[in-house]
């Protein structure tokens, strides 16, 4: 079809073939002035600092002045003695927390979509920790996990178990923080699962019931596969959250004892605290690349499965 075929223009107004004629360029929904405030905020607060960060990662920067040193900061960052611990811890933490959030979130989601009497109340209870500030959670659990006076070890003592110094012992520190992270984050995973499970049409359950399937069949062949979009969201959210995990670790162990619960984010923060601004910016650039390198393929892979399901 050519332009001439569209017929004669009969007067002012939009030509009928306009949208197609201009190809991919669609008419903006609002005048450009309307985008300006958001655009300025985006440029000033996001784009400019991002570009500056890439520049400052190549400098030795004291806040007072900066000196261009090329890739020296990246070399120094990779030479950091505890970097391998940091990477391993970050990865363990991300896998552990997102894995537990998926399992517990799914189970709680199934429980809280059942016909329980106190369902509404229990849903609020599960979601409540999400609303509490992470720092407050960290401080509270630091007190609860104290070796001598903490509630956790006192409770364990009642059943005759001599609990360890959860946060002060190198073998349990990271694990303890990860479990607290799960406690705090599982509410969000549960809510996502509740939404996912509720969006499964009842017909599927009825179909399984008609075929004589048990509760396990309903879970295994209906709920589990059809809540895949929810699983996908939970994994992405908690895995990325785990990779850049910082606040809880910092309030509970500060990467300690020694360097045993350091993650990449806490290593970067300590460098920033030490006044190595260029070096810590280089670390952030590396963290950005690592998170992107893991999150993009993960999104692609999980998105593909979602379409298949």
């Amino acid at each position: 079809m050519t332009r001439q075929d569209a017929g004669p223009r009969t007067g002012p107004g939009l030509p009928t073939g306009h949208a197609r004629a201009t190809g991919a360029r669609r008419r903006a929904a609002y005048p450009y002035a309307f985008y300006l405030p958001a655009g300025i905020v985006y440029v000033v607060i996001f784009l400019v600092p991002t570009v500056m960060a890439f520049y400052f990662s190549l400098t030795r920067w004291t806040l007072f002045d900066s000196e261009f040193v090329g890739l020296q900061n990246f070399r120094d960052f990779f030479a950091e003695q505890n970097l391998s611990i940091g990477f391993a811890n970050t990865f363990v933490y991300a896998v552990l927390t997102s894995g537990l959030k998926v399992v517990l979130g799914l189970l709680l989601g199934v429980l809280l979509t059942s016909k329980l009497r106190l369902r509404g109340f229990l849903r609020s209870v599960v979601f409540f920790p999400v609303l509490v500030s992470t720092v407050a959670v960290g401080i509270t659990f630091s007190v609860l996990l104290r070796p001598d006076t903490g509630l956790v070890n006192k409770t364990l003592a009642l059943v005759g178990i001599d609990g360890p110094d959860w946060l002060g012992d190198a073998t349990t520190a990271l694990l303890s923080v990860a479990l607290v992270d799960v406690w705090k984050g599982v509410g969000l995973a549960t809510v996502i699962y509740i939404a996912g499970i509720l969006s499964i049409p009842q017909e599927y359950h009825q179909a399984v019931a008609v075929d004589g399937g048990s509760a396990w069949h309903r879970f295994r062949h209906v709920t589990l596969p059809l809540s895949w979009p929810a699983t996908y969201s939970v994994i992405i959210l908690s895995f990325i959250g785990g990779l850049r995990s910082f606040d809880l670790i910092w309030t509970m162990t500060r990467g300690g004892p020694g360097f045993t619960s350091d993650t990449i984010a806490s290593i970067i923060y300590k460098q920033y605290q030490a006044g190595f601004y260029g070096l810590s910016t280089a670390g952030n650039v590396i963290l950005f690349v690592v998170v992107t390198a893991i999150a993009v393929p993960l999104t692609w892979f999980l998105g593909k499965r979602q379409v298949a399901a």
Binding site: G168, G256, G258, Q273, G275, G278
Partner: protein, 433 residues
């Protein structure tokens, strides 16, 4: 409709710009002729009390100048606040900050008022000036007193067990064994507050400089290393030994300094490697902290060269951006005068000697301060390494926690610290690294 959209958009844009640009408005000048000075201090109880005593006494002496104190967090978080405010020109008129190596990172020549040769320094002891100087220019006056970094010990426990203050590490360990046998924790460690783990290394510097007098110069010039200097490595070895022999309190990994001080004052622990400045804030709630707790320098290998490591007082500095330089100098001149010391003595028990000529410890000074004064009077004291060298690695506290928890071998810890120091020196752009 289109026009109103545009107008709305433009209005929003203007609003956003105003919001973004209106963040930095300066203080209004006072109308009645008085000058108001802002005074930034860290938020530890001892500092806040001292700063308030100084400000109150000064305002009584000079009613035309008003001092408004504001607080900031301590530690490296505070360092960053100070650096950020100095580099953005947003610093308070006068501010309280560490002397020694930390000051070097603030770029004083660019950010602070040069006080070299100024009459405000008239009463400041000559030997203090190097720790508030860079390239021969002086930038600050001493705030409060010096303090000791060594072992705080419970004198009641010592009396009960008939122990003597140890002059060597071997005597110290012998005391520890007796204390352990009596059921009291010999050495308190509080690794949750990681900074407290460094004392066995930093407080050992008197012994290091006694054995290797040129250590500070060589260390600054990248010639001496902790791992290659047996005297310097002793601190790391001590930490490891205390842990290996099971002399630390239970739950040392998650204990805090507050808990440690409480254990010490209550006599549940006998020794605590700490700064004497931790004691005065406790005197209010636990009066026995003033009398029961004594101080001795961390003992070294040789009983003949026993002494104590001193932490110099922090400084009070004037920001270059101040609009009230004259008033600020008046305040500094007051801070560095004996009447200021008297005013502080009334509020906070001094944890060590003043660095101001004519300012004496009061007769009812706390025991730890008297013990420290005795070391100084006998000439058996040396400033800590961070006051004689600009190089101090930022990760020492994590390394000493790892060594003190038995996670890292002492030699390995010392080598890690040497690498950490190298990173710092490179970032500071020091010559020879």
């Amino acid at each position: 409709m289109k026009t109103s959209h545009r107008t709305l958009g433009a209005a929003l844009a203007v609003l956003a710009m105003t919001a973004l640009t209106s963040c930095g408005s300066g203080p209004e000048p006072a109308s009645d002729g008085t000058v108001t000075l802002s005074f930034l201090v860290d938020n530890s109880q001892a500092t806040v009390d001292t700063a308030k005593a100084l400000a109150d006494a000064f305002m009584r002496a000079d009613p035309t100048i008003k001092i408004e104190t504001e607080t900031r967090p301590g530690g490296s978080e505070g360092d960053n606040i100070v650096k950020t405010r100095l580099s953005t020109g947003d610093m308070a008129d006068v501010f309280w900050y560490n002397s020694g190596s930390l000051l070097q990172a603030l770029n004083p020549a660019q950010s602070m008022l040069d006080l070299t040769g100024d009459p405000v320094l008239a009463n400041v002891q000559e030997s203090f000036l190097p720790v508030v100087s860079q390239d021969g220019k002086v930038y600050g006056v001493p705030a409060g007193t010096a303090m000791g970094g060594g072992i705080l010990y419970n004198r009641k426990v010592y009396d009960k067990l008939g122990l003597r203050v140890p002059k060597s590490w071997a005597e110290f360990m012998a005391n520890n064994d007796k204390i352990k046998a009596s059921g009291v924790t010999p050495v308190i460690a509080t690794f949750k507050d990681t900074w407290s783990s460094q004392l066995f290394v930093l407080g050992d510097y008197y012994n290091v400089q006694a054995a290797v007098p040129a250590f500070a110069q060589d260390y600054t010039a990248n010639k001496a290393k902790f791992a290659a200097t047996p005297a310097a490595m002793a601190g790391f070895e001590h930490l490891a030994e205390l842990h290996a022999k099971g002399l630390l309190n239970e739950g040392f990994g998650s204990a805090t300094v507050d808990q440690g001080m409480k254990m010490l004052v209550e006599g549940k622990g006998a020794h605590y490697a700490m700064l004497s400045a931790q004691l005065p804030p406790l005197v209010d709630t636990m009066p026995q902290a003033a009398t029961d707790i004594g101080f001795f320098g961390i003992p070294g290998a040789d009983p003949a060269t026993n002494g104590a490591t001193i932490w110099e007082p922090p400084g009070i500095y004037v920001a270059k951006t101040t609009e009230h330089a004259e008033a600020a100098k008046k305040f500094l001149a007051f801070v560095a005068s004996p009447p200021a010391a008297d005013a502080v003595n009334k509020v906070v028990a001094p944890p060590g000697p003043y660095r101001i000529d004519g300012a004496e410890l009061p007769g009812d000074a706390i025991q730890a301060a008297k013990d420290l004064q005795a070391y100084i009077d006998a000439g058996d004291s040396a400033p800590a390494l961070e006051f004689v060298s600009p190089v101090k690695g930022p990760s020492l506290e994590q390394i000493t926690v790892a060594v003190g928890s038995g996670l890292t071998k002492p030699a390995e810890g010392a080598a890690q610290y040497d690498k950490d120091v190298e990173k710092q020196a490179k970032q500071l752009g020091l010559a020879g690294w």
